[in-house]
């Protein structure tokens, strides 16, 4: 990938958005899963 090529900023924006979207989804779902299981264990 030549980052100085024309329109390289569009490629960077697409990859950055994908990374943010995917990482956000992972963090949200993992935190929800851990929190739900902890509460379940707490109640017994």
């Amino acid at each position: 990938m030549d980052w100085s090529a024309p329109h390289a900023g569009f490629v960077a924006a697409a990859y950055a958005a994908s990374a943010i979207g995917i990482l956000g989804l992972i963090i949200w779902l993992v935190r929800r899963d851990i929190s739900a299981r902890k509460q379940e264990d707490h109640i017994g």
Partner: protein, 240 residues
């Protein structure tokens, strides 16, 4: 198969399988991104912009596949009243919505330098936008209706009715004149993409699919825990 569809067995099985699925996902992403950004050549017409394909196409495939899967889970939930089926459909929805949004966003970012516009209301883009609305509508039903059984039934019907949009998205480029290019990978006459670009695309598609499997297992395990929690709290309130 019936044994693994038991929520208790599923939670145990998911906890065992998940580390391997995450590891495989990471390996596939490492190989796929190396192919997408390092080894694959720039396109003779599009230049470096073609690399958007490696994140746009897998996100679009997943958005369609997840909605189809939600329709199947919903049909199972409606017909057999299986406790895992509507939980699986509900858990898959936000994942599909994110992939659908990413497909629309990366497509728009790809469209600007190639077509000279961020957006055009052609058949492919419009039907994909409708898919996004269907995902949002499906999730809104679960949030809006308090009774989970009623919410599950209405959401399942919406998922099944909305499934008509899936073949419309897929064949929109063949049925209508669109600015969006026609299918170039899964064609009767074979792929039109060069092998140097095809293998990173397929590895990235596999990485996205494994990521979806991992996310669905996590989401479904969380959903089962939340449902158990709700049942226990209801039982506590009733016993007082």
């Amino acid at each position: 198969m019936q044994k693994y569809a038991n929520p208790h067995v599923f939670v145990k099985l998911a906890s065992v399988v998940l580390p391997y699925v995450w590891a495989l996902t990471a390996i596939l992403f490492a190989i796929g991104l190396y192919g997408a950004l390092v080894t694959s050549p720039p396109d003779y017409q599009q230049g470096e912009t073609v690399r958007i394909m490696y994140v746009h196409v897998p996100a679009s495939w997943l958005a369609l596949m997840i909605y189809s899967l939600m329709a199947v889970f919903s049909a199972i939930a409606l017909i057999f009243r299986h406790p895992l089926a509507d939980a699986a459909a509900k858990s898959a929805a936000p994942i599909g919505a994110v992939f659908c949004f990413l497909a629309l966003f990366t497509g728009s970012v790809w469209g600007k330098p190639m077509w000279g516009t961020w957006w055009v209301w052609d058949a492919r883009l419009t039907s994909m936008f409708v898919l996004m609305l269907l995902y949002l509508g499906y999730m809104a039903i679960w949030r809006a209706i308090d009774d989970p059984h009623r919410a599950a039934s209405i959401a399942a019907i919406v998922a099944l009715v909305g499934a008509i949009n899936v073949p419309i998205v897929k064949y929109s480029v063949d049925w209508w004149n669109t600015l969006h290019q026609p299918a170039s990978v899964f064609r009767m006459s074979g792929s039109t993409i060069d092998k140097s670009m095809l293998w990173p695309l397929l590895v990235m598609a596999l990485a996205y699919t494994m990521l979806f499997v991992a996310l669905l297992l996590v989401a479904l395990r969380g959903e089962i825990a939340l449902r158990k929690l709700r049942s226990k709290r209801l039982a506590e309130v009733r016993s007082k």
